[in-house]
């Protein structure tokens, strides 16, 4: 664990300054008519990925904001998925 994360406010900083907030999976499910199975899938289940994913990070030793950034857990680099970076070119 020694990579960097780019905070939209503070810029590229050491990962030690941040707390991880998980892969972005959209808002949590509404509690109305929520079954426990659906809830557990949200609260307990995570998928391990080896490709770039959008993640939540909190700049705890910095500006104190939650933000999302693309990171590839396979190499810990901040990079967008192949198809997205191609789109942008």
């Amino acid at each position: 664990m020694s990579f960097t994360i780019t905070c939209p406010i503070c810029g590229e900083r050491d990962v030690y300054e941040f707390h991880f907030g998980g892969r972005d999976r959209g808002p949590p499910p509404s509690h109305d008519n929520l079954t426990i199975e659906e809830y557990l899938r949200y609260a307990q289940f995570r998928t391990t990925r080896t490709e770039a994913q959008l993640e939540w990070w909190f700049h705890s030793n910095g500006c104190g904001s939650w933000f999302t950034t693309w990171r590839n857990p396979a190499n810990n680099r901040e990079e967008k998925p192949q198809e997205m970076s191609n789109d942008q070119q």
């Binding site: 664990m1 020694s2 990579f3 960097t4 050491d14 707390h19 907030g21 959209g26 808002p27 949590p28 509404s30 509690h31 109305d32 929520l34 426990i36 809830y39 609260a43 307990q44 939540w56 909190f58 705890s60 104190g64 904001s65 939650w66 190499n75 810990n76 680099r77």
Partner: protein
């Protein structure tokens, strides 16, 4: 100390400084600048250690710590590498892994039994029957020691530090390529950090006297070093080996302090925007029979002994080399007046013609296409057999020094840990980077260059490329440098010799010195199916010692490919692991940090006799009683009135149109019921329903709330609120007031009488009842938020005041309390008081397996609310009626005057059915009491439970009766009066 060679400017010794040290109790002396190993060599020491497995004698082979040969115990510290440790006055050096002395080791007979110790020997022998393994393990460990730690030794940790750097460009390697790279990047106005493992810059140019462009190489290098040292854009670290390169160009290193520096060692972390790796080459050892006998050494070792330290490496010298540097060294030593008998060169062509001519005119016998095949002698070299590579001819020389190498190998460590890909280059004979991580560049000798001008230019190019990676426009300079490079010689042909001629079975031909891994072991590994270098490494024991990728690195890969008959360009060296250079754990730890926050009343509490303990991020007064049972403190609160500094408590303000919605989200209760002038107690859960925080909330005005959190939770509260509302786009502001406010708890039956003396506000029970909130003016007009709470189970008022007013308010209360004989109390007294009352502390009476409901706080939860999406509510709903959960219970200990310890286990027969959270001998009650988390089958009132210590030697058992956890004043009369 013997007479050294005459003075010469390549030397790095201070002849005026004679240093006295002892080796195995014998007085010796060296000169300033010597390493321990060099000084020992100069004093006639030839056998430095015994090898791990066969107890073979080992000598000075390298000068930069490339093997375990010279691991010594220095000043009581084991496993110090004598090659790298600078000699200091009064050093006491002793040998390791020997019984007696290295030159007369008791265990040396083991050398004759090598045929009974094949590859994988430890794994295959002694395991049948398996029961015997511990016995043999113990015996083997005794014999194969790697230094003994003196656990009674006083260790001075005050001279270890750490620094954290941010550089634009980091350069690894202070040879001429690295220096040129640093200067090129610095010339672009970038901040550069340069790391060099030796005490001086210059790399392998530092001791070379041949001229290039009418200047000796060492003088050129020193001129460059002066420029680097004078350049204020470059921060230079010498004696600073890099231990690894990590994600996104984080470089770790450590630096040994020079004489007079403020540190012995300091740990370095440097985050760089781009990196130049110019880590150069080391020699590839020649694998032939008895190639590690004392008296065999690397080319640079013999050469530097003479050129850098003015020491005669040997009297009759034979060379077996594989590159032009070897020829140059042989000539240079001969020109220094040393007796060089012959030079065997593993190459048949591509030698530097000029060197050959000079060799001939010096009268040195030159044998191209030859190499050493066997080193003769016992404890030291007495002679060497040289053979033609095809084995057709052999000749012998009597000598006391064999200077041997099979050419060069790249120092792959730093780049390898950074994730670069390498491939063996059949032209240069080196593993060379083929795929570089982003914004990393390599330069110098490791790229296969040997021409001084080419090396310099490659450094300049890499430095400029690194500058370009930092968004500098360097295209003009880069074009010029590349044009210059195109005119210079490119890569040089390397040596592809895998092992010396006539190796036979290779029983005593060592690929790895540290683990005694022979060529024969490599063959055995392959025949047992462990045919890849990574497998042979484990099975045969190669590269597992401090030499790691240095002595055995490239040779193992080449040998395995040779044994397997696979193309060498497909071979791969074994994974290089950090730390690349061994360092002590103490250096990694650095200074012992003890960083904590102090409350605004810290000094006051100290002056009042407070005994402090760390509590989370804070340092807090835990005791005000010497007996640590805090009896007087507890009695005083129960019977009179006490003052507590509770400033570590979290205080927050939340305001804005959506403040209430945010509170509804994170608190389990219906926060619409928080009213002005009232404190509402509630709790927060995580998504799985575990309680994570509790505190009180009060409404200050519309859309404006003030709330408290536990001390431990204060630091994460804003993150928590923001996380759980991150999709909602709500409008609220959250302010952490914790560090800007102090908190004083006035608790005890006399609390009201005391507080009333400092404020005009009506504090009567009618005007200011239990759980009420008021903003008071105290003393000379200081405003205080006053919360009438009862954590300790007595009438109490919590005053939250600005940090800067805390001391004033404390003094005010102290003065007013003199007539009541007010006394401070600390965290331990508070802990006993609240436990008697059955008030939980989150994290003490709760943990990851228990929910809000399990610890009896279910009444706080607004279970009908599904519209606020309260954090954790679905989990609470799911386990509301679940069987088999752990429950918080109170217990009274049956035995009197004793109590178990916090953390003791609750047992039923051999089963652990729970554990004790908090237990004390009560001051107020006639028994010992406590709270425990137990499986629900044991949570019924009246149940008898048994407790004992989880670990250790204490077998005391206690019996207790389960009771509701409210021991003291269960009806809450006292805090409501």
């Amino acid at each position: 100390m013997r007479a050294r060679l005459p003075e010469f400017p390549t030397q790095h010794i201070d002849r005026g400084q004679e240093i006295s040290f002892s080796y195995l109790g014998k007085r010796m002396s060296g000169l300033g600048g010597d390493s321990v190993a060099v000084a020992m060599y100069d004093n006639g020491v030839r056998i430095f250690s015994r090898s791990l497995k066969y107890h073979r004698p080992r000598g000075l082979y390298s000068l930069d710590g490339e093997s375990a040969n010279t691991l010594m115990n220095i000043d009581g510290i084991p496993n110090e590498n004598a090659e790298k440790r600078r000699l200091r006055d009064g050093m006491e050096v002793s040998a390791q892994n020997v019984r007696g002395r290295p030159d007369t080791d008791f265990y040396s007979f083991i050398n004759w039994f090598d045929r009974f110790m094949p590859a994988g020997f430890y794994y295959r022998m002694f395991h049948r029957p398996y029961k015997l393994w511990p016995f043999f393990l113990n015996r083997i460990r005794k014999m194969a020691g790697v230094g003994t730690l003196d656990i009674h030794r006083e260790f001075d940790d005050s001279r270890r530090f750490e620094i954290f750097l941010n550089a634009d460009v980091a350069v690894i390697g202070g040879g001429t390529a690295g220096m040129n790279a640093a200067l090129a990047a610095a010339g672009q106005g970038l901040r550069v950090c340069l790391f060099e493992h030796r005490a001086w810059l210059g790399g392998h140019m530092d001791w070379r006297v041949v001229e290039f462009e009418d200047e000796p190489l060492f003088e050129r290098a020193r001129g460059l070093a002066k420029q680097v040292e004078a350049n204020t854009q470059i921060r230079l670290f010498t004696q600073a080996p890099v231990t690894g390169i990590w994600g996104n160009k984080l470089i770790t290193a450590y630096q040994t302090g020079k004489d007079g520096e403020y540190f012995d060692e300091r740990y370095i972390e440097c985050r760089a925007k781009s990196v130049v790796v110019a880590s150069g080459c080391i020699e590839r050892p020649l694998v032939c029979n008895n190639n590690e006998r004392p008296g065999v050494m690397q080319v640079n070792t013999a050469w530097r002994l003479a050129r850098t330290y003015a020491i005669t490496p040997g009297k009759r010298i034979v060379f077996s080399i594989g590159d032009d540097l070897g020829l140059e060294a042989a000539l240079d030593l001969a020109e220094l007046g040393l007796k060089v008998l012959a030079v065997a060169d593993a190459r048949s062509d591509k030698q530097n013609a000029d060197l050959l001519t000079r060799l001939q005119s010096a009268g040195i016998e030159y044998l191209p296409g030859w190499a050493a095949s066997n080193v003769k002698g016992g404890k030291h070299v007495r002679g060497v057999e040289l053979s033609e590579l095809n084995g057709s001819q052999t000749c012998s020389f009597k000598c006391d020094l064999l200077v041997a190498s099979a050419g060069q190998q790249a120092v792959i460590g730093p780049l390898s840990t950074a994730g670069a890909k390498f491939r063996y280059c059949t032209e240069t004979g080196l593993f060379q980077p083929t795929e570089m991580p982003p914004k990393m560049f390599s330069a110098g000798r490791m790229t296969g260059l040997t021409h001084p001008g080419s090396i310099d230019t490659s450094g300049t190019i890499a430095g400029l490329e690194a500058a370009a990676a930092c968004d500098r426009d360097v295209s003009t300079n880069l074009d010029a440098a590349r044009r210059a490079a195109a005119k210079l010689p490119g890569e040089t042909k390397g040596c592809d010799l895998v092992y010396g001629p006539g190796i036979g079975a290779g029983r005593k031909a060592f690929i790895c010195f540290d683990g005694d891994g022979t060529f024969k072991n490599a063959v055995q590994s392959a025949s047992q199916g462990f045919d890849a270098p990574e497998l042979a490494k484990r099975f045969g024991g190669f590269g597992l010692g401090p030499g790691q990728y240095q002595v055995p690195g490239q040779n193992l890969a080449m040998a395995m490919s040779n044994i397997n008959g696979t193309p060498i360009e497909n071979s791969q060296f074994t994974t290089v692991r950090p730390p690349l250079v061994p360092l002590t754990l103490a250096t990694c730890v650095g200074p012992r940090h003890n960083i904590y926050k102090q409350t605004p009343l810290h000094r006051d509490q100290k002056a009042r006799g407070g005994i402090f303990r760390n509590a989370g991020v804070w340092r807090r007064a835990r005791y005000f009683s010497p007996d640590l049972d805090c009896r007087p403190e507890i009695r005083n609160v129960r019977e009179n009135v006490g003052l507590l500094d509770g400033s570590s408590l979290g205080n927050f303000r939340i305001y804005g149109p959506d403040a209430l919605r945010a509170l509804q989200r994170v608190y389990v209760s219906n926060m619409e019921k928080s009213r002005e002038g009232r404190c509402k107690y509630s709790a927060m859960c995580n998504e799985t329903g575990n309680i994570v925080d509790d505190g009180v909330v009060t409404k200050v005005a519309d859309d404006n709330y003030y709330f408290t959190t536990t001390s431990n939770r204060a630091g994460i509260t804003i993150e928590w609120f923001r996380y759980h509302t991150r999709f909602d786009d709500w409008d609220f502001k959250l302010v952490n007031l914790t560090d800007s406010m102090g908190s004083i708890n006035v608790a005890g039956p006399n609390a009201r009488n005391l507080l009333q003396k400092v404020t005009k506000e009506d504090l009567s029970n009618e005007a200011f009842p239990y759980m009420a909130y008021k903003e008071l003016i105290v003393g000379d007009g200081v405003s205080a938020r006053c919360l009438r709470l009862g954590f300790v189970g007595e009438l109490s008022f919590e005053l939250h005041v600005a940090a800067s007013h805390s001391q004033y308010v404390w003094d005010l209360l102290w003065e007013a309390g003199q007539e009541f004989k007010v006394h401070p109390f600390g965290m331990e007294a508070q802990n006993c008081l609240r436990a008697e009352k059955g008030h939980v502390i989150v994290g003490t009476e709760s943990e990851q397996r228990v929910t809000l409901l399990d610890i009896g706080l279910g009444f706080l939860w607004d279970s009908n609310d599904t519209s606020s999406n309260k954090v954790g509510a679905p989990a609470l709903r799911a386990c509301e009626n679940q069987q088999g959960r752990m429950k918080l219970v109170g217990f009274r200990v049956s035995e009197s005057g004793v109590t178990p310890l916090d953390g003791d286990i609750v047992v039923d027969g051999n089963d652990i059915v729970g554990y004790v959270c908090t237990t004390r001998i009560s001051e107020s009650l006639d028994c010992s009491y406590g709270m425990a988390l137990v499986k629900d089958g044991y949570a019924t009132r009246g149940e008898k439970i048994r407790m004992c210590q989880a670990l250790g030697k204490r077998h005391d058992e206690y019996t207790a009766t389960v009771v509701p956890p409210q021991f003291y004043d269960p009806d809450g009369q006292r805090l409501r009066t």
